[in-house]
Symmetry: C2
């Protein structure tokens, strides 16, 4: 029942020393979701033990190079590893043309199906769901079409209490409907209330990825109460003028958003290469929102079962 | 008077663990030449202390992704670091269109001049020279337009012997012509022979980069007698059928070329991800050509002044 975020790259646009640019992998119950795919993502996966073959869904925030230049290499490696499974890529419009232009020669693009899903960036939408997970877009303000992404577990059916199956001699074919909330009427016509037979499944967990973006409170209703929020913090607040000029945020602003959205934990990253160390980012954010953590390449953040 | 090769990436097409795909930096007397530019090249430069701002010339062997997918990121970072110096990129034709397609948005390509030089891949040509260095293309056999590159120091003028300047009271304005070979006629009309006044400058050094390629003896006349040869060795000879099918070479074949071309030192690399270890490549090559070395990410090979 994993809910585990791995930071593959924590740098801003220009990589700096051991900081690669943005890519995150979210593991929800062994389903892997790749979020942004900067240059070096496939190498970071090797380094941090992410099995790239398990990636079936890639979510791209926007089409700046430091969020997509790892795609061509990753898509090529999938092909060379004889991938056959379809790959789904979600992004603002324009990505397909950029990628296709890189395969003009005998290898006419990767030999497995790629489905590009072009997203609206003006309103939050449900863009993916399966039995266990749903993903919503989060429109961001970055001077270019840009979405963050909200990943939410779905609430699972109630869990059957095993000892009750035996105690009341409940036939197995009745179990699915009891899990969905039905009472059990035994052969004598006695009603056993659902509450006695089941317990609630764990509360769904959630992760919101917000990068790149200027400070915008428009995202708060979407990300409210999430367990884990990643919000970019390219600059320190003393450089707020640079943040405004480049449609980025400061550590202080990231913390303000976390506080106003009442999230559980905040992770900051996307540090500008002008900062050799990132401790000042942490101090600045923690002054406003205590449960702040620094992203670094290889960092892991897990949300426990609730 | 450096002549120093740094391997930034030693992997074949699919990166494997700590092996990034192909990129080399050759430092000839503090002029840096980048040869191929696979994904992650700019991060490897940071890691191995290569100052990326000193790169003015990039030589691309061919347009497969594992030799070029680091270009978009590197070109972007140059721009973000306020580069103004022109950049020269040498490659088979088609590269410019691929790169331009990646900058469709507000950043309309990098804000410094890029000169693309499209090369013939059918015959060896002098493609670059300055006062100290000349670079020749080496047509390779890879089932796609592909060049290796031969880097040669130029023979410098003879070195003036300082003590002779004093002994014969030679005016400074005469020194350039003496370095070029002229004798010195002193005010009394006596001829002092050039050999007494100068000594030969060091012998020029050379490096040949041959990747990717099937075994082809056509390159031997071009690379004959080089000090340092890099020849790809994607496969072990037991997998010769795979080498033939993919237009690559085996370690044994790389060594055969080194031997027949009478080179001083051989470096092999571009290992397929199927080989976890590369000691077998070394053993196989050394059986034929003793002075063989394994490329690995971060390896440095220097050619001493001769």
């Amino acid at each position: 029942m994993k809910f585990k975020l791995t930071i593959l790259g924590s740098s801003g646009a220009v990589p700096f020393k051991d900081r690669f640019p943005t890519a995150h992998v979210l593991n929800i119950r062994e389903q892997l979701f790749l979020i942004d795919c900067a240059e070096g993502t496939q190498m970071r996966m090797s380094r941090f033990n992410i099995k790239r073959g398990k990636i079936n869904h890639i979510f791209i925030s926007h089409l700046h190079g430091d969020h997509i230049f790892g795609l061509p290499g990753l898509l090529t490696s999938f092909g060379m590893n004889h991938r056959e499974a379809p790959l789904h890529i979600y992004s603002p419009k324009g990505l397909k043309g950029m990628i296709d232009g890189l395969f003009p020669y005998e290898e006419k693009g990767p030999p497995y199906p790629i489905h590009y899903h072009e997203l609206d960036t003006n309103q939050s939408q449900l863009i993916f769901e399966n039995k266990e997970v749903e993903v919503f877009s989060i429109p961001l303000q970055h001077g270019i079409d840009c979405n963050g992404y909200l990943f939410k577990e779905k609430k699972l059916p109630r869990n059957m209490l095993r000892e009750k199956i035996e105690e009341y001699q409940i036939p197995f074919q009745q179990i699915p409907s009891i899990k969905e909330g039905a009472d059990w009427i035994n052969p004598k016509g006695e009603i056993i209330k659902n509450e006695e037979l089941t317990k609630s499944s764990p509360e769904p967990r959630s992760y919101a990825f917000c990068s790149d973006t200027a400070y915008t409170e428009s995202i708060i209703p979407i990300i409210e109460d999430v367990d884990l929020l990643y919000h970019e913090a390219t600059f320190l607040h003393k450089d707020i003028d640079k943040a405004i000029a480049t449609h980025h945020s400061t550590a202080q602003q990231a913390a303000m958003i976390a506080k106003k959205a009442n999230v559980q934990q905040l992770v900051i990253g996307h540090y500008s290469a002008r900062y050799e160390e990132k401790e000042d980012h942490l101090t600045e954010a923690k002054a406003i929102f205590k449960a702040t953590h620094l992203a670094y390449d290889g960092a892991i953040f897990e949300v426990e079962k609730k």
